[in-house]
């Protein structure tokens, strides 16, 4: 009889925690980008600093990159035994990623390139991608804890933690987005009748 790895799905608590984090952070993006006009989407708080459109494009790319990493690269590989798994705690992943006192340059793969024509479509693209992520995490019976990939900032984390990263990363950029909106030079929404 062949030896088989013990198959381990997420616990209900793990699953709910990830779904909640991913759902809440998606709502935060939606709430922060509702009703922005073109000038507001494109406003740069300083030369070279990301506009809201850049932030959301980055979120779309990150969502796609992580989803593909897990589903196309990690899941086809065999799960690792418990003794070969990352030691970083779930809460630590979230605390680390949410901490904006430490800053990083985005990896090439997920850097915004302004290839869109309508910035407001970015929010829709993010929302659609996030729905796919949430559905996956809600329904999967795969052993996510047994699949590991090195994160460029954090080091080794498991596939479940990659989804925690995704949610916390979204929150991190919502904080950044809100700062852009709070900038004194942030354009006021254009109203009909405004003289420009």
């Amino acid at each position: 009889m062949a030896m088989t790895m013990q198959h381990v799905s997420l616990t209900a608590t793990e699953r709910q925690a990830a779904v909640d984090l991913l759902t809440e952070s998606a709502w935060a993006v939606r709430e922060a980008t509702t009703d922005l006009d073109e000038r507001q989407w494109r406003f740069e708080p300083a030369p070279g600093r990301w506009a809201i459109a850049d932030i959301v494009e980055h979120l779309v790319k990150s969502e796609q990159a992580v989803y593909q990493l897990v589903t196309e690269k990690l899941l086809p590989t065999p799960a690792r035994p418990a003794t070969r798994r990352p030691t970083l705690r779930d809460l630590a992943v979230i605390l680390a990623v949410r901490n904006r006192n430490v800053r990083f340059q985005a990896a090439e793969l997920v850097r915004p390139t302004r290839t869109w024509t309508m910035p407001e479509a970015l929010a829709g693209a993010f929302g659609a991608a996030r729905v796919g992520t949430v559905n996956f995490i809600r329904d999967t019976t795969e052993d996510l804890r047994g699949r590991i990939a090195e994160h460029p900032v954090l080091g080794d984390i498991d596939a479940y933690q990659w989804f925690l990263f995704l949610g916390a990363h979204t929150q991190r950029h919502v904080d950044q987005l809100r700062e852009v909106k709070a900038d004194p030079a942030f354009p006021r929404k254009q109203m009909r009748g405004d003289v420009l």
Partner: protein
């Protein structure tokens, strides 16, 4: 067959005998054959341990006795309580680090934690995402009678850690144990934890000082 009476002293023995100047000792421990910390690791740990010490001391240097002991409510520590907690944690962690090579099993390279060093600071200095409560054994109890005694204890303790970082030949990457917040991290990362934890409480101190009710003198 090797002649043991004539064998050359190992690098470790030279260091222990203290024949070499500390700078030369540092150069030797950089060699690829040595299993201790690299020069870059020592420099990074030294920088963060010094910077966080200086930042914390700057928050405390001009406090009056009333300001040292001010606490707005029973759930918020005074400056004196904050510093006592920092020293208690640092003493405990530093002891664990020094004891590790003698009390723990060295881990093979492929069995060591693969969390990146920068994560330590990122986790520990985040005071906004979730409120954390100190473990019971590290809660301040008024161990030092005066702020002067406490500040002296802090600076001496930090001096010991800095000296250790500069001179130790211990292979700190080979020993790892659990940090309740971060997970299993290695001995070097525990040193970074000392610095990050100090920075965390420096932020707390800045918040305390900024309160409208903080005594003006």
């Amino acid at each position: 067959m090797a002649n043991y009476m004539n064998h050359r002293l190992s690098r470790r023995q030279l260091l222990e005998v203290g024949i070499l100047m500390p700078a030369l000792a540092g150069w030797l421990t950089r060699s690829p054959q040595a299993s201790g910390l690299t020069a870059a690791e020592r420099a990074a740990a030294t920088e963060t341990l010094q910077r966080t010490r200086n930042t914390l001391l700057a928050q405390l240097s001009d406090l009056s006795p009333g300001q040292w002991r001010y606490s707005p409510n029973k759930d918020t520590w005074s400056a004196m309580q904050i510093l006592e907690h920092v020293v208690e944690v640092e003493e405990s962690v530093f002891t664990q680090v020094k004891d590790a090579p003698g009390t723990r099993t060295a881990l093979a390279p492929d069995r060591r934690p693969r969390t990146k060093d920068q994560v330590i600071e990122m986790v520990v200095t985040n005071r906004t995402t979730r409120r954390l409560v100190s473990p019971e054994q590290y809660k301040p109890t008024g161990r030092w009678p005066t702020s002067l005694a406490l500040v002296t204890a802090f600076t001496l303790q930090r001096r010991s850690v800095l000296d250790y970082v500069t001179t130790t030949a211990d292979d700190l990457r080979a020993f790892a144990w659990d940090n309740p917040l971060i997970g299993v991290i290695d001995g070097y990362q525990w040193l970074l934890f000392i610095a990050g934890h100090c920075e965390r409480h420096g932020q707390q101190l800045a918040e305390l000082r900024a309160m409208p009710t903080f005594p003006t003198r």
